[in-house]
Every structure is written in structure tokens, then in C-alpha cells.
Amino acid sequence: MDVTFWGVRGSIPSPGPGTVRYGGNTACVSVRLPSGELIILDCGTGARNLGISLLAGPFGKGKGSATLLLSHAHWDHIQGFPFFGPFYVPGNSFTVYGGRSGERLLEDVLERQMAAQFFPVQSFRNMGARMEMRPMGEDRDVRVGSATLRAHANPHGPTPALAFRIEAGGKSLAYASDAGYGSDGPPQAAVDLYRGVDLLIHDSTFTPEDRALRLERGLSSLEDAVDCAARAGVKKLALFHYDQDYSDHDVDELVARGRRRLAEHAATGIEVIGAAEGLTVSL
């Protein structure tokens, strides 16, 4: 299983010299299963570069298919959707899974982003590829090709965000972007979802100090991420979804603090990395 980061930023893309190492694109991660199947986690602006790389293969000829899992419909998780090249090649086929954000069905949410006031293509039906939208069941296994998927809704300010677990070929990954746990930490169901995975990609938007000032945002600090990793006994933790104002230097500091925090847990067997655009983790 190869996991590649295309966008690691939260809230809004943050171009500029201060973010070139970790990257300024919003959330998007691709997962290539041992069978060759492709799963895409979230569709922030990082999806544009993923799309460009995919067009060099079967997706460029209208022979590609992939599963897209959307954690929730905040802009930084869907704003790459109109700019994902493979959507414009007839013959490609996508199954899109998401939650029921604010009681609106996924299709309606994505269609609103494409509407004429906002985007010249006016409807995702004008894009060309075949797209099927499906609501994601929560807290139960869903079989998609050779993978077993499971989703759990984490609290995230006024709307929930889905966390996903993907298992295939004896390897496992959990993706928990945008998690705003209460004061008693992650619920057991979330910890169970992350349990023992080879790689946990976890929201690490803030330092604990910055998070304390912005609790209503429903996002995690690096300590929340590290505590989850330690409780769930994961093998590797990738910090993810950095605040738009954090420079590369600030993210370096988050990672260093994460490693110190693990040492406090005496969970030094867990490796902590900072997710960065272009980085591939092979499991």
C-alpha cells in the first residue's frame, strides 16, 4: 500500500515562500492498494496535482477508475474537485463516498460548488467522467474492491467529519482529518478505528496553545494526534492539516514536539512524521 500526500494544509491554500517544503495545498491523499486500485482521501487543492500525475496513465485515456472518500464538505476538503483533470475525461469512472453533511446529500453539495455563479462548468454532469455518489455507512465494514473500509464520524465544530480506516493486502491506514475531540479526548469508537494501523494520518492543525484559543473550530493539536496514536498503538503517525499561518519552520517544531510527547508516553516505538506534499509512505 503506497500512501502519497498531495495537500496537507487546513482551511485555505497558503502559497508563499514560507510553505514550500511542507506545501500549501489543502487536504488530499492518494492510496494505491497492492491490487493497483486507487483510493483518494479528500479533494482539497492538492487534488489538482494528483490529477495531473494520473493523466499520464490510464486516466488520461479514459480507462481509469478510483474511489473518492470525502471526510466532510468544508472547502479545504472539496475545492480541488472542479480542478481534478481525470473528471474531465469521458470513460473514467469514480465512486464518491461522503457523509450527510448538514442533511444535504453529497450530490447536492458538490453540485452547488459547480453552479454557474461560481464555476464555468456549471454542473458536475458536464465534466465527462462517470460519477456515482454514495452515502458512507458509519462504524461498520464496507467492502470496496480488495479493500475493507470503515468510517467513524468525529466531532468537528458544528458539523461532523468522517474518519476512515482502509485495510487491504494485510496493511492498514487510518485517516482522521479535522477532529475536534471533547475535553476527555477521543471517544473509544475513534480509538478503535485507529487501532494498530500501520499509518495514522491525523489532524494536527495547532500547537496546544493555539488550539486552546480556537476550541470552537473543532480541530486537533499535535498532542491530540500523538495521544490518539499512543492509545491506539499505531506503528506510524503522520501529522496533517496544518494551520494556514504555520510556516515550514513552525511545522518542523510541531513534529519535534510530537516526538517529545511520545517519549513522555514511553511510546517511543511509534514513528512520527510531518506529512509533506510529494511524500510517499510505502506500507
Partner: protein, 310 residues
């Protein structure tokens, strides 16, 4: 008149090492008069950093006022608004302007961007006083000491060009528009380039000619014209239906209008810094023949120009 560029990119923000010099943020330009009138044109992601800058002065204490002119509501021209810090401070006064629509008023178009499930903070929780003003093509009005003129542009779902005059200087802002030759854009979806056999109707030709002459008039004698130069000639041949121009289109309009300076603007997301350098060099070279008096610069994040007095 002072003009500052905060975002120069079209379509979507493009962070990364290839765009470090010109910048990856989407459209946003700030114009301020010597007397202190502050006008922001377009609210792409560039407006976020400007908002942070504004919060270092009177906007922090809720005593700021700014006027935001929106060329049109495609994402790359509004997506920074929810991240514009002065919105969230009580006492600030913000006036938002855009072209009037038949189907939906401006407030509800912009509300959708911050409604659930897309954004956690809806409009009614923004604490600043926000007023909306809808404009018709050809409108002319004053914002304090600044005279603003509007013209219709040739872009999918229709965009507005603005010209601002104050302090004895004039700036025109033309993002986004197609040339006024091959396609007449309106509200309908255009799936591809026109077929070679499909000719524009006489009335469409006439509409485009009129539109062009109004844009030229808007730019007449301008000290600076900021113009959509998204495409290379080859890209335009492939995707004329996207509704964007080439540098040569911008040079022609500037020449016809007798403008002094052209700023290339609204670069395609794929355009790297080195490619913008090359586009600037070739545009200058060609313009030596076609518009020898025109000064040409390439807009970049941080470009700061003083025109006229003040």
C-alpha cells in the same frame, strides 16, 4: 493613488516552489487614495494576507472601512472572503459591490459560500457591518473621493471591469475576459471551442464590438491597466471557451485606449515563475512594434505602485 497586488493567479491557488516569486494566491488588488479611501478589487485568497495587514491598524479596533468590488463570483474571485479578518470585528464597515443578477441577489450568492456544510461561520455571525450594492453594466458612481466606472466583460456568466479615478490618476481592472472576437459569453454553458463553420451572428458581432469599445473607453488614458493574460496563444486556440485573454489582447486594448502601463495578471495555474518571465519578455518585445509607448510589467504578490499624486 497607491496600488498593491495581493493575488495574481487565476482559477485556483497554486502553492509551491514554481510560483514563489509571482505568487500563487488568487485575484486581489488593493487601491487606496491619498485621502485614505480603501478599495479592494476581488477577494481571491490574496485578500487573506491583506486582511491580516489591515488588522494591524484601525480594523483591529473596529474602526476600519473598506469597499470590495467583485468582478464576478467565480471561486477564484471570492474564495478569500471568509478568511478576511476584518469581517469578524464588530464596528468595521464593509461595502461589497458586484454586478446585479436576474436570478439571485449578491448577498445570497456570497452567503452560500459560508453556509453549512461548506464553512463553519455563516454570514450573520460576521460581526462587521456589511452592506451590499448591486451594479448594472455601465454604472458610474463615487466612493468618497474615488470615481468608479463599470463595463461588461466577455466571460462565462458575465464579469465586470472597473476603472478607478482619484488623485489625478486612473487604474482599470480587467479580469476576466475573453477577446471580443470568437465567442459571445452569456449565462449558458459552452462545452468546447466553436466549430470552424459556426460563424457568429451579426448581432453577436455587434454586441462584442460594442462591448470592446466600452472596455477601451473604460481604459482611456489610464495610468495602469491590470488585464487578464491567462493564456498563451496556443492555449487560447485550444480553450477559447474558457473566457480568458492572451497578452496580445491586453496590449491591443491598452494601445487603443492610450493607456500608459499594462500589468499582466490572472496567470494560469500552470504558469511557473520562469514562464511568466518569458511571457513578459516576449510581450515587451512584440509591443515594441505594436504599442511602442506602452510600459509593461508582470503583476506579482507584493507589487506596490504609486500613481498620480499621493
Amino acid at each position: 493613488m497607491r496600488i498593491q497586488f495581493w493575488g495574481v493567479r487565476g482559477s485556483l491557488p497554486v502553492p509551491g516552489p514554481r510560483t514563489e516569486r509571482y505568487g500563487g494566491n488568487t485575484s486581489c488588488v488593493e487601491v487606496s487614495s491619498a485621502a485614505g479611501t480603501r478599495i479592494i478589487i476581488d477577494a481571491g485568497t490574496g485578500i487573506r494576507r491583506m486582511g491580516k495587514e489591515l488588522m494591524r491598524a484601525e480594523f483591529e479596533s473596529g474602526k476600519g472601512a473598506a469597499h470590495i468590488l467583485i468582478s464576478h463570483t467565480h471561486w477564484d474571485h471570492i474564495q478569500g472572503l471568509p478568511f478576511f479578518a476584518p469581517f469578524y470585528r464588530a464596528g468595521n464597515k464593509l461595502f461589497v459591490y458586484a454586478r446585479q443578477r436576474d436570478d439571485q441577489n449578491l448577498r445570497s450568492v456570497l452567503s452560500l459560500q459560508v453556509d453549512s456544510p461548506f464553512f463553519p461561520v455563516p454570514f450573520h455571525k460576521a460581526r462587521a457591518e456589511v452592506a451590499f450594492r448591486e451594479l448594472h453594466d455601465g454604472a458610474q458612481f463615487e466612493i468618497n473621493d474615488v470615481v468608479v466606472s463599470c463595463a461588461r466583460l466577455n466571460h462565462p456568466y458575465i464579469a465586470t471591469a472597473y476603472a478607478l479615478s482619484v488623485d489625478g490618476a486612473k487604474v482599470a481592472y480587467i479580469a476576466d475576459t475573453a477577446p471580443f472576437t470568437d465567442i459571445l459569453f452569456g449565462h449558458e454553458f459552452i462545452a468546447g471551442p466553436p466549430s470552424p463553420r459556426s460563424l457568429l451572428s451579426k448581432s453577436d458581432h455587434k454586441t462584442l464590438r460594442t462591448m470592446r469599445s466600452q472596455v477601451v473607453r473604460l481604459c482611456e488614458g489610464a495610468d495602469l491597466v491590470i488585464y487578464d493574460t491567462m493564456f498563451t496563444p496556443e492555449e487560447y486556440r485550444q480553450t477559447p471557451h474558457f473566457g480568458h485573454s492572451r497578452p496580445s489582447d491586453a496590449v491591443e486594448i491598452c494601445h487603443d485606449a492610450g493607456a500608459r502601463m499594462l500589468a499582466l495578471y490572472h496567470y494560469a495555474p500552470d504558469r511557473s515563475d520562469a514562464e511568466v518571465d518569458a511571457v513578459l519578455a516576449s510581450t515587451r518585445k512584440e509591443a515594441k512594434l505594436t504599442a511602442p509607448k506602452l510600459d509593461i510589467v508582470a503583476g506579482f504578490e507584493g507589487l506596490d505602485l504609486a500613481l498620480g499624486k499621493g
